[in-house]
Assembly symmetry: C2
Homo-oligomer: 533 residues x 2
Amino acid sequence: MAGTTVEVYDTTLRDGAQQEGMNLSVADKMAIAPLLDELGVGVIEGGWPGAVPKDTEFFALVNKELSFRHAQFAAFGMTRRAGASAGSDPQVRALLDSEAPIITLVAKSDIRHAERALRVSGDENLAMIEETVAFLVGEGRRVVLDAEHFFDGYRYDPEYAIRALLAGEAGGASTLCLCDTNGGMLPDDVTRIVTDVRARTTAQLGMHAHNDSGCAVANSMAAVAAGATHVQGCVNGYGERTGNADLVAVAANLEIKRGMIALKGDGLAESTRIAHTISEITNIAPFARQPYVGASAFAHKAGLHASAIKVDPDLYQHTQPELVGNDMRMLVSEMAGRASIELKGREMGFELSDQPDVLKRVMDRVKNAEAQGYTFDAADASFELLLRWELGQAPQYWQVESWRVRVSSAPGNPNDADAEAVIKLRAGGGQRFVTVGEGNGPVNALDHALRTALAGAYPEIGRFELTDFKVRIMDASHGTDAVTRVLITTVDTVTGMQWRTVGVGPNMVEASYEALTDSLFYGLLKAEATPNP
Amino acid sequence: MAGTTVEVYDTTLRDGAQQEGMNLSVADKMAIAPLLDELGVGVIEGGWPGAVPKDTEFFALVNKELSFRHAQFAAFGMTRRAGASAGSDPQVRALLDSEAPIITLVAKSDIRHAERALRVSGDENLAMIEETVAFLVGEGRRVVLDAEHFFDGYRYDPEYAIRALLAGEAGGASTLCLCDTNGGMLPDDVTRIVTDVRARTTAQLGMHAHNDSGCAVANSMAAVAAGATHVQGCVNGYGERTGNADLVAVAANLEIKRGMIALKGDGLAESTRIAHTISEITNIAPFARQPYVGASAFAHKAGLHASAIKVDPDLYQHTQPELVGNDMRMLVSEMAGRASIELKGREMGFELSDQPDVLKRVMDRVKNAEAQGYTFDAADASFELLLRWELGQAPQYWQVESWRVRVSSAPGNPNDADAEAVIKLRAGGGQRFVTVGEGNGPVNALDHALRTALAGAYPEIGRFELTDFKVRIMDASHGTDAVTRVLITTVDTVTGMQWRTVGVGPNMVEASYEALTDSLFYGLLKAEATPNP
């Protein structure tokens, strides 16, 4: 099996977009498609032109503005209506009009779905499949048949399910994709059924898995082991209910664990960055525990292991994180103990092994802070500041006297509001600054006021840009009384360096103020600004 | 295989707590343990008494204060030190002192780990295993041997890996648990290796899987199919890196898909509630796409399917959500189309099928709102209000003139802050209220001011309690300039009814104000308060 090529078919833009809370605009799809091409998938399914107006627009725009290096473009649609010719069906014609070289036709292969949902006879359904495929193939398109509910259908009536596939083959479909639409299969079911189908046709077989029993990745692997050479899935495992098969995990398993050929170019080595960029566009928070590309996927916390990892990192990871563009990380945490803090310090350029008293004080501060709700796992910069304070290696850049923020409804319109912040501080050799900042929210206003006050003394401030701002309510049982944790990501636009800081407090504005001031402080430190408080 | 009993061994409190960002206090563990017992797991592993002071305290407290209906309690620890007797090793003695009836001993079964991490010879490692097990069994405890890195070890040196297991068996271990510690196996690897081990010993075999290749659930199922009758895992799939096997998904697959006996009592039917309650305690946001128990696990959005689901719901779900205490949900979304909005309306008691113009206006408003960042997937109450406004079935309870919030640093201490809100509104037959509320943050202060103003006209307000408050920054690329979405969960403490509302705006306080006022409005509506604006 090593050396076999498996076609990776991405349906993030169509089936993935069915996920709860996801809502992709045409612009979002235009931004995601080139990333999928860069990832090296063989096929990008763009949507359902003709049925979804946004998708019709997207296909026209792709034809005009995008060209792909690796991927071919596919349009998704349905078989023709009952009792009419394929060529006269406007939905089928819209698939042709999309100009996509590949057309993926969803077809009923479970007799119950044909009879109850589509309300056609089993024979008419088979005719609909064969004729629609033949029509599109006659027009020069490659056709992939998505046999919907195939596995459930096979378990209910195996002969009918296979006849539906064979109707597609007879029409000239290149690929018969077996869909576990309800996602309930386990790998041994898939092995048994795909093995049977493999013996009944010579067409390329594909697998389309959903994760309802937690086995979408394993089911995709089982199908390939039984002879499928086409796998469908979505980046980040997006999709309706529990999601589709996570395409990066499947491709990484195929390539790294089985020596097969899946993604084109060096897409796999870029997959962590690409998966995260796509989650920025979809606005779905990335799942830290996601296999291969998750932020935690190669993060070690256990004190027991931390010391052993120093000896031999490869004994503690299932593969090298670089293969998927991810990194091994040591986490600073109460559970980690001295070994991790020592390692983390060394990563940052501080040798603590000969300073047991500092190590002890840092550990105590970390424990204490974590008990209050801080997390340094995700805020390296705040941890470095903590370490520097304990080492006496933190300069003073400014001194804040006080600050305040006001948010009020617009006159006459309680549904609109604006914000204003005032800050008083000393910087630049004791000079006092009283500045005001406006903003579309309290933290934004505070950010503006703080920057205005500091810009005179530290022009470097202008280089720092806040790129992410995350708010987490820590104790959900208390509603608006809860403790808030704010994580801020900042980038130095000159050096490209990026860092994260954390603030915690019962008051969201106060927590933001802490993360904000830490962030600017850290930026000045790394820009080697001369302290002049 | 149907009818076989599989022992479900929970390690949420030990291995699960290794997850990035998780930090369990003794009180958290005391709250989680009874939930695990209610779930019906056979064994609860509490931690590592003797090595982790918090765990020693937890075991003492469990012995004093808890009794379990279903579960036995297990202490986790290591084999004895090299070159000393088991009985003289303080770490081993601490395991006895914990009074746990089951002791789970982690042991090296990969020769490389014995030699490089533990720095002992292969033979000494085997002696450490056999003697420590024998000592604990002699003291009347059941011993589970956790053969760490077993699968990697087997692939490197199968004979040594199996000798490590047999040393445990010789010492009297009841269970030999094969650990995929680095989580890199695929199900066919597991099938092959467990089948071989099964032929070499008569002891009970167990499986401990991690999810690094996305196959933890499938690997656990493969091990059971090959003869294991003990599975380890964590609720919600918690754990280091990509997490441990999700114990509820494994148990549900065993029971529902394979007819085996896994959880005791009716734990499976309570698993959704229990999994969510545990995530409240761990403070790790639940993953909506989690198999079986996720909020999205039985949620349907596709317009294509929505109309067919009306015909026959069982054709569109892999199992009945009630079996795991979850619910089928129809999601309102731009992609869903008329059929879903009609169904959702019917769920709420509004018949829209004969009002196409209302249906159209509601669809337009939903589309428009979703484009701005609203989501009604997670905010049924806001959707019902939108529907009622379009139907002209929303009363007026009050009229707000204006509001404002001020947050300022404490005098002399810029690191502390407090908040104060003023609201001006009319309610109670045109009576004007000007009220002030203090709070530990701007939203909390606004909540207090609003309630004070409304309480006179609507005493029902006192029954409503905010139980969750979620803030989501929608466009991460803009930092503090981004659009904010606020979701608020409120409960009526008299009826127990719970509802969620959404607010969106560039200003977090403004978005919160919207969700807050919608929430109180909806509560009054459901409490059938008489409008008196």
